[in-house]
């Protein structure tokens, strides 16, 4: 994992001092609310329904155990003892006081953490696959590139006041896309060209919100050394020509659409031609140096524990199910990737208490070289667990509430905070998630349904990624009452797609039944090897409509 040097430490400290000065001036009335707004947003501070909300950056989802313990302490000292893992691999606090925020940022800086650029119209946290570095099929570990992008984008003097927020995601696997790169402003797919050289396929102009779009390819192959100059060219074109007259048309996706992807690409290439060989061009040494931070932990030479696991599975059916769903194949023999699910029915998806944060830290130290990863599905990953300790780990986490064996199933719901916390909400989202989880408590039935992404947002802003859920639920307001619109067929993976709206919206109490009917259609119509999305793509939306509105 990346470790700060004196330069990073100095800038982190200077940032805290700067925000302390800004907060003082804001409280003294020297900065108007409007002037303070982008400054506090770029330090992660929103003002929300109950109190300010602080979004803490977890660069590409990586956390060390000491950082988790610090987060636990911060939630205890400054908040109400719980935190929320977000769909952008960050951590959010719901109740800090404005005047405490500089102190919180100082406490974070001590453990090499910050809240830089987690909100506001700037380049946000770069996200990636939570299985980076431990999965067998990736082309190369994407995290060194994520850290290179993080450093380049941090306090970038030209791009702190963009038309709108800007998000970059990187993916390195050829078969899967857990980073949802095609719904980001820039999605970078690591590839090798025919000559075997490493580079990126560049997607620009994806995004959710009001006008959901899947990002088109604007460059098939960008050599790795050109990464930053090319990003700089894209950002400069966007900064100059992105719309600023209408907040809802200000994302880069609108510019790409207006110019067409080809027209946009031409403008970027023209800009890039000027700066391609500027000092911003990466050097092989810089990339090598960064890779040095993401080396393998001291794995032991092990064999796969196939026989042992087979015996344990046979003896314990619950363990067997957990292993099938929440444990993934590791590139090293004898190791496994474990996802701790934060989706226990009755707990808002992604919420953890201070105590649980400490438990996760202890688990990381005991089982996984002291590190965890946050996923955009709002779960937490222990990436390097010995197979012969899986049973022991499972026994430890079950009473902690991290063992719900529903990863990637219908009840592994992505859900925004919604009307319970968020001032922009049209409707509550957490109670809908809970009602659906209760309706589908039978695990055998859930497993039989296979992988289904169910995503819920409380309004158009789409924090819960409803457009790209196989089943999407969106809270809408009808004459002051909360209703829910359902869409089908979305995907955030390699085959990214925006869901289609099923029809008129539903009352909250009807939602579990509506989902059940949709699932019934799938169960009736599927062929043996089909997942939900396959069936939907084959039969279309009509049979679902007919059943739900019958």
């Amino acid at each position: 994992m990346y470790v700060y040097d004196e330069h990073d430490r100095q800038m982190a400290a200077e940032r805290v001092a700067q925000f302390r000065d800004q907060t003082r001036r804001a409280l003294a009335g020297e900065l108007s609310e409007e002037e303070f707004l982008p400054l506090r947003l770029q330090n992660g501070l929103y003002v929300q329904r109950h109190a300010p909300m602080l979004r803490i950056c977890v660069p590409y989802g990586m956390l060390r155990s000491d950082q988790l313990r610090r987060l636990a302490r911060i939630t205890r000292d400054y908040d109400k003892g719980y935190a929320h893992f977000t769909t952008r691999q960050n951590v959010q606090l719901n109740w800090p006081a404005l005047e405490d925020v500089p102190d919180i940022l100082a406490d974070l800086a001590e453990v090499e953490m910050h809240a830089n650029q987690t909100s506001g119209n700037c380049i946000r946290n770069t996200t990636t696959d939570q299985f980076s570095g431990v999965q067998a099929d990736e082309i190369t570990d994407p995290r060194p590139y994520c850290e290179i992008i993080r450093q380049w984008s941090t306090f970038h003097p030209e791009f702190a006041f963009l038309p709108r927020k800007f998000k970059v995601a990187v993916n390195a696997s050829e078969k899967t896309d857990r980073a949802a790169i095609r719904i980001h402003d820039i999605g970078l797919q690591i590839v090798r060209n025919d000559a075997g050289e490493l580079g990126f396929r560049v997607h620009v102009g994806g995004g959710l919100g009001r006008t959901p779009m899947v990002g088109p390819v604007i460059r098939e192959f960008l050599p790795e050394l050109d990464l930053l100059t090319y990003l700089e060219a894209v950002l400069r074109v966007y900064n100059r020509y992105g719309r600023r007259d209408n907040k809802f048309k200000a994302r880069i996706k609108i510019l790409v659409k207006a110019l067409t992807p080809e027209g946009f690409a031409e403008k970027v290439e023209a800009e890039w031609a000027h700066i391609k060989d500027s000092p911003t061009r990466l050097t092989p040494e810089a990339i090598e140096r960064m890779k040095g931070f993401f080396t393998e932990p001291p794995y032991e030479a092990l064999d796969n524990a196939t026989d042992l696991l087979a015996r344990q599975r046979f003896e314990n059916r619950d363990f067997d199910q957990w292993l099938s769903h929440n444990v993934d194949v590791h590139k090293k023999p004898g190791y496994a990737i474990v996802t701790l699910t934060l989706k226990k029915t009755g707990t808002p998806p992604g919420d953890v208490t201070d105590h649980q944060l400490e438990q996760i830290a202890d688990l990381a130290d005991e089982y996984s070289f002291g590190e965890v990863r946050v996923t955009h599905h709002q779960n937490v990953v222990l990436a390097d667990v010995r197979q012969d300790r899986l049973l022991e780990l499972w026994e430890a986490i079950t009473p902690m509430g991290f063992g719900t064996a529903n990863l990637n199933t219908l009840t592994d719901i992505i859900c925004c905070p919604g009307g319970d916390y968020c001032a922009l909400a049209n409707a509550k989202s957490i109670p809908v998630a809970e009602a659906i989880q209760r309706r589908f408590e039978d695990l055998d039935y859930l497993y039989d349904l296979g992988n289904i992404d169910l995503n819920i947002s409380g309004c158009m802003n789409a924090c819960g990624h409803h457009h790209v859920g196989n089943i999407g639920v969106l809270g809408v307001d009808k004459k002051g009452e909360e209703f829910y619109q359902v869409s089908l067929g979305g995907s955030s993976h390699h085959d990214a797609d925006i869901g289609k709206i099923l029809g008129p919206s539903f009352a909250r109490e009807d939602m579990p039944e509506v989902i059940a009917k949709i699932i019934d259609v799938y169960v009736d119509q599927r062929t043996e090897e089909e997942e939900f999305l396959d069936t939907y793509r084959r039969i279309g939306i009509k049979p679902f409509k007919e059943r739900v509105y019958a």
């Binding site: 800038m11 200077e14 700067q18 900065l31 002037e35 003097p157 030209e158 000092p279 990466l282 140096r289």
Partner: protein
């Protein structure tokens, strides 16, 4: 006379006027007793008349294209870039283009909604004077220009991004 902030945070007085774009049918109201910045396209339109006059400079609005005077920038003693609202970040790109692409060497001034907390970004993008909005505390400028002792990126102020300095 209004105060202007220098890149090192010191304050000096100067009397450059910013001449607004004339309304349709009106002509450019250039003051006779002060040096003045005029809209860049109008300077270009009256090029024969204006060039060589060291009391006439140009200003760009945030949606203007500095490319129009790319080959003539060093004929100007002063260029202003307007920030109509401080959250409009186009001026930063304009400044870098003027400096890094067109090689502008003379004074580059941020005008308009210029506040304290953006000064260091402006400096890094090549501005070397700042006409702070009048209601802001000009004595705090030196602090705000120097919140950070270094940056991660190459920009107008340095050819050495941190990744190159680390290698050295």
């Amino acid at each position: 006379m209004p105060d202007v902030i220098n890149a090192d945070g010191t304050i000096r007085q100067d009397n450059w006027a910013v001449v607004p774009r004339p309304e349709d049918g009106e002509s450019l109201a250039i003051p006779s007793d002060q040096p003045a910045l005029i809209p860049a396209d109008l300077w270009l339109a009256g090029y024969e008349h204006f060039t060589g006059n060291d009391r006439i400079g140009v200003w760009f609005d945030s949606h203007d294209e500095p490319e129009i005077i790319a080959d003539k920038v060093n004929e100007l003693p002063l260029i202003g870039v307007n920030f109509p609202r401080f959250v409009d970040g186009r001026g930063y790109s304009i400044a870098r283009l003027l400096r890094e692409r067109f090689g502008y060497r003379n004074e580059l001034r941020a005008i308009g909604d210029v506040l304290l907390d953006q000064l260091q970004f402006m400096k890094r993008c090549g501005f070397d004077s700042y006409a702070l909005r009048a209601d802001k505390d000009i004595n705090h400028a030196a602090t705000c220009l120097n919140f950070f002792s270094q940056g991660y990126q190459a920009a107008t102020d340095t050819d050495l991004p941190l990744f190159r300095r680390r290698a050295g």
